[in-house]
């Protein structure tokens, strides 16, 4: 067991890096999010939306969140969960991000209720309202980095729009491509960093089961 000061500092630092994959580091899930984001905007703008396709596109955020949870639980933190310790700056950024989305959601819902009247509370208007209302809650639980925020907000907005049979115009593909490029680059870098970390922590040749008995 290493006990010298440098080794201890490295151990604490490596634990922090590993714990990042519980919140702020998405790794491959950010890559998946970026690809889904680009794909949904391209399909939404270029293909005629059948009901089945609409529901499939509206399900993209759920698919992304599912991939995020599965990768965290069964890949990045399979040696046992370690929850990231957030700095004050990270907490404030997260809080502002959620507050901003909550304010935008309220404004959008109020605007829809004002313009659409009773139709806002009937299908599919109610689905649009529900998706918009869920956005800050999803952000509070899952958006811990700028990459999550960019990809997540676009995916949720896109889901809300396609569920009512509309779609974003083609030029939104450019924004989606930009955000996807940021997310894919960041996610791939985080994944490579994880592979190095796995070797440093000696996790690659250990097959620990999930959970922990004491």
């Amino acid at each position: 067991m290493q006990t010298d000061a440098d080794s201890l500092s490295r151990l604490a630092e490596n634990t922090s890096r590993y714990a990042c994959y519980s919140r702020s580091a998405g790794g491959l899930s950010l890559v998946i999010g970026g690809l889904l984001c680009l794909a949904t905007f391209v399909v939404g703008a270029t293909v005629e939306l059948t009901p089945a396709l609409r529901y499939a596109l509206a399900g993209a955020p759920l698919l992304w969140l599912l991939s995020k949870e599965l990768l965290r639980a069964f890949y990045y933190q399979r040696a046992g969960a370690a929850r990231e310790r957030l700095s004050g700056k990270q907490r404030r950024m997260h809080l502002w991000m959620v507050a901003y989305l909550a304010a935008m959601s309220l404004l959008i819902i109020a605007g829809v209720a004002w313009t659409a009247g009773a139709r806002a509370w009937q299908w599919p208007g109610i689905a649009y309202v529900a998706i918009v209302a869920a956005m800050p809650l999803v952000a509070a639980r899952w958006f811990w980095s700028v990459g999550d925020f960019l990809v997540g907000v676009l995916l949720v907005c896109q889901a809300a729009v396609v569920i009512v049979g509309l779609h974003y115009p083609w030029y939104w593909i450019l924004l989606a491509a930009l955000y996807a490029a940021i997310a894919i680059t960041t996610g791939w870098r985080e994944h490579r960093d994880y592979l190095r970390l796995r070797d440093e922590l000696g996790l690659s040749n250990r097959s620990h089961g999930r959970g922990a008995e004491a």
Binding site: A5, A12, G80, A82, R83, G202, L203, A212
Partner: protein
């Protein structure tokens, strides 16, 4: 006995023995890097057996340096640990003491060379 040597001995004796034990030091160090850590991760990274880790965690918990959260995931028991503010302070104090001790001893070694 030289006063410098006496000071060094006093410094060694003043080190917190609860934290100084290598396994417990590793546990506290790992816990300091995260908010909450599962037993399995501690076991893997600290390279301790379940019984050994459990015993050290109990001692650290009794001293108020860590908190242990026990629950179930399905039918499997799930144990998670977190360092307390007292534990964090104890670890920092220990690291300062050791750093100061090494600094005070290093010139003596050079003189002998």
């Amino acid at each position: 006995m030289k006063s410098g040597t006496q000071d060094a001995i006093d410094a060694v004796l003043a080190v917190d023995r609860l934290v100084h034990e290598p396994a417990r030091l590793a546990i506290l160090t790992v816990l300091s890097g995260a908010e909450l850590v599962e037993f399995g991760f501690l076991e893997t990274v600290c390279r301790l057996s379940k019984g050994n880790l459990s015993s050290h965690l109990s001692k650290l918990e009794a001293a108020g340096l860590v908190t242990i959260h026990k629950s179930f995931r399905g039918k499997r028991p799930l144990t998670r640990a977190a360092i307390t503010d007292t534990g964090r302070e104890a670890l920092q104090r220990y690291r300062r003491q050791i750093a100061a001790l090494i600094d005070s001893v290093a010139p003596t070694n050079q003189e002998q060379d």
